[in-house]
């Protein structure tokens, strides 16, 4: 058959019209929701203790007052497994969605908070709070913010980096991919240098805190961390779908988005704040976990297409599932010890990033 000739009438569940992938996207989101539920259930039942998923279910179905779970199992479930699963889900979703939003904002598939220095900027904010938190200047403010001090500082670090990056990489409404990646390297190095100075200034106790924070791990998941980062992440995730229409239009360039009736400046500002908030909150509680934001949206675009109103929720679900799986892997590879989860995502994600680069070298034209 000749390319471009009329094709047979559309058949099947999702092909209502040729080139219309909305049905397929909805089906895919439903499948991803089922996948997430499965991963969630498996994670509840897996860990160092031998309590299985069925033990948990039996206990929950039996209802309150029934002592189906021993006191030990109850602690393991509610204070170790559940917070870890929830935090992993929140962070996975936030990393994947902020990757997708950032790629939409910069109109290229290589933008990712971890790669272009936003995570380093957020990290600098977090380190500053840990090291300078006790000083006279910052102490009262940090005391006021309480558990939110770390996520907020990371948010402002990420926000500053994203703003500078956008300023540098975008000229007359078009973003240069090469400039963006190079500016990201420079910003990452600068944030790294300042972080180094702060680490040099830190005392022994602060160094311990920094080390645990910087491992990039879900191991320290607690309810207080969920309360600190959760609201910020949930707010960013809820705001993301409102950007979908605008991000779709921006794919054609800022001028065309404006011609289509989109308030471009507002969409840009909202996207930058959402990316900084989601990245900052994640970095504050779990350190640097790379590549989720680039792998997840890219895989999804291959399946359901790049329309953001489906891409963003699908990214959240797949990101959460993927991070829970990576967490399980990080606990199993060197059991009974565990790898920082950042190592697992980097081991999977970095080759994937190279693969995208190889397939789409034309994009860069360096």
């Amino acid at each position: 058959m000749l390319q471009g000739q009329a094709r047979p009438a559309p058949v099947g569940l999702w092909s209502r019209a040729e080139g219309d992938r909305t049905g397929r996207a909805r089906l895919c989101i439903a499948a991803l929701a089922v996948l997430y539920a499965l991963v969630f259930a498996l994670s509840l039942g897996s860990g160092a203790s031998d309590m299985s998923f069925w033990d948990v279910m039996r206990a929950w179905l039996a209802g309150e007052g029934d002592n189906a779970l021993s006191a030990r199992d109850s602690i393991i479930l509610y204070d170790i497994r559940l917070p870890r699963i929830l935090l992993g889900s929140l962070i996975g979703a936030s990393l994947a969605v902020s990757g997708a939003v950032m790629q939409g904002l910069f109109r290229n598939p290589l933008a990712d908070p971890g790669i272009v220095g936003v995570a380093s900027g957020a990290g600098l904010g977090a380190i500053a709070v840990i090291v300078l938190g006790g000083t006279a200047g910052l102490g009262p403010l940090i005391g006021l913010l309480g558990i939110y001090a770390l996520p907020f500082a990371a948010f402002f670090g990420g926000l500053a980096t994203t703003l500078i990056l956008y300023r540098v990489a975008t000229r007359r409404g078009q973003t240069s991919i090469a400039t963006m990646l190079l500016a990201g390297i420079a910003l990452g190095a600068m944030a790294g240098a300042f972080s180094g100075v702060l680490v040099y200034l830190a005392d022994d106790q602060q160094l311990r805190d920094l080390t645990f924070w910087g491992l990039g791990s879900l191991a320290g998941a607690t309810w207080s961390k969920i309360w600190a980062a959760g609201p910020i992440i949930v707010a960013a995730l809820c705001a993301a779908p409102l950007l979908a229409r605008g991000l779709d239009a921006m794919v054609l360039g800022e001028a065309t988005a404006n011609h289509l009736g989109i308030r471009v400046q507002r969409i840009k500002n909202a996207a930058i704040v959402a990316v900084a908030a989601a990245t900052g909150a994640s970095v504050a509680v779990a350190g640097g976990i790379g590549f989720v934001g680039i792998v997840v949206p890219h895989l999804l675009r291959l399946t359901i297409g790049p329309e953001h109103r489906y891409l963003l929720p699908a990214s959240a679900l797949l990101g959460a599932s993927l991070l829970l799986v990576a967490d399980a892997v990080s606990r199993m590879v060197v059991a009974p010890a565990e790898l920082p989860i950042g190592i697992v995502t980097a081991a999977i994600g970095a080759p994937f990033f190279l693969w995208i680069l190889l397939r789409r070298r034309g994009l860069l034209d360096l």
Binding site: Q3, G4, Q5, A6, R7, A17, E18, G19, D20, R21, R107, N108, P109, I177, R245, D248, A249, V251, L252, G253, A255, T256, N258, H259, L260, G261, I262, R263, V264, R301, L302, G305, P306, E307, L363
Partner: protein, 264 residues
């Protein structure tokens, strides 16, 4: 009711790109902007689209462009850029459907679901809906963008007000058949009561399809009128800075292709 430009000036940095442009593009006709490279054609169209800051005044149907919000302006005019590249794998249908974002295509509700297909058929791309935009040739991409633009202002008149197509070199990368097809669409839009402003490079095509020609030279509008008035030996030679004779075949006998001799 028209697009009216009064004393328009554009500065980029301290450099004056446009000055003193006065132009009226009424509905019902095709207004062509012609001129040599660097004469300010695209800058003029960008000012009319609201992409760049300008001095003077631009009014669409009596309303100052500067006072319109993006979604309000999107109701009155659609803009076709010179070329658009994408870095994500959108299908042709998904791109064309973006034209419906502004929500005022003017098509009847029952037409909306199939509007992308109808727009694609208009630009001679029926059956391309499922293809990936990035895999199309430059000329096909340009026609996909035109289909998107047509979706945005599907009916040339909405609520009793004319709407406008602003086209930046709509036929620059097209073969002769599709040059004619696209110009027929523009002429049809004008015949149905809408207005068209198009930057054109091909003076022959301009002579055939434009009802009014605005000729730019070094950031100024030097002539505006019917093709017969504007396309004179003297004017064209002055503006394009080479000796041109209008209406004469090449003197040395080399073969040439005359697009107007083709018919759809």
């Amino acid at each position: 009711m028209a697009i009216e430009v009064q004393d328009l000036g554009v500065f980029i940095g301290r450099k004056k790109i446009l000055s003193g442009v006065e132009l009226t593009a009424p509905p019902g006709i095709v207004t062509a902007i012609v001129g040599p490279n660097g004469s300010g054609k695209t800058t003029l169209l960008k000012a009319l689209s609201g992409d760049i800051a300008y001095t003077g005044e631009v009014r669409i149907n009596g309303m100052a462009l500067s006072s319109l919000k993006p979604w309000q302006a999107a109701v009155h005019r659609a803009v076709l850029p010179q070329s658009t590249t994408l870095s994500f794998p959108y299908t042709v249908r998904e791109i064309v459907k973006l034209g419906l974002l502004s929500g005022r295509s003017g098509a009847r509700p029952e037409e909306l679901a199939t509007l992308p297909e109808r727009a694609l058929a208009r630009v001679d791309l029926a059956g391309f809906a499922g293809r990936f935009y990035q895999e199309l040739s430059g000329g096909e991409q340009q026609r996909v963008q035109l289909a998107r633009v047509l979706c945005q202002v599907w009916s040339p008149v909405l609520d009793g007000r004319p709407r406008y197509l602003l086209l930046d070199e709509p036929v620059s990368s097209l073969d002769i058949k599709h040059q004619l097809a696209i110009m027929e669409i523009a002429a049809g839009f004008a015949a149905d009561g809408g207005g068209v402003i198009a930057i054109l490079h091909d003076l022959n095509l301009t002579a055939r399809y434009a009802d009014r020609i605005a000729m730019m030279h070094r950031g100024r509008l030097v002539a505006c009128g019917t093709p017969g008035d504007v396309l004179t030996d003297e004017m064209v030679s002055d503006v394009f800075e080479c000796r041109i004779r209008v209406g004469a075949p090449p003197p040395n006998g080399t073969p040439f292709v005359l697009p107007q001799s083709a018919e759809l």
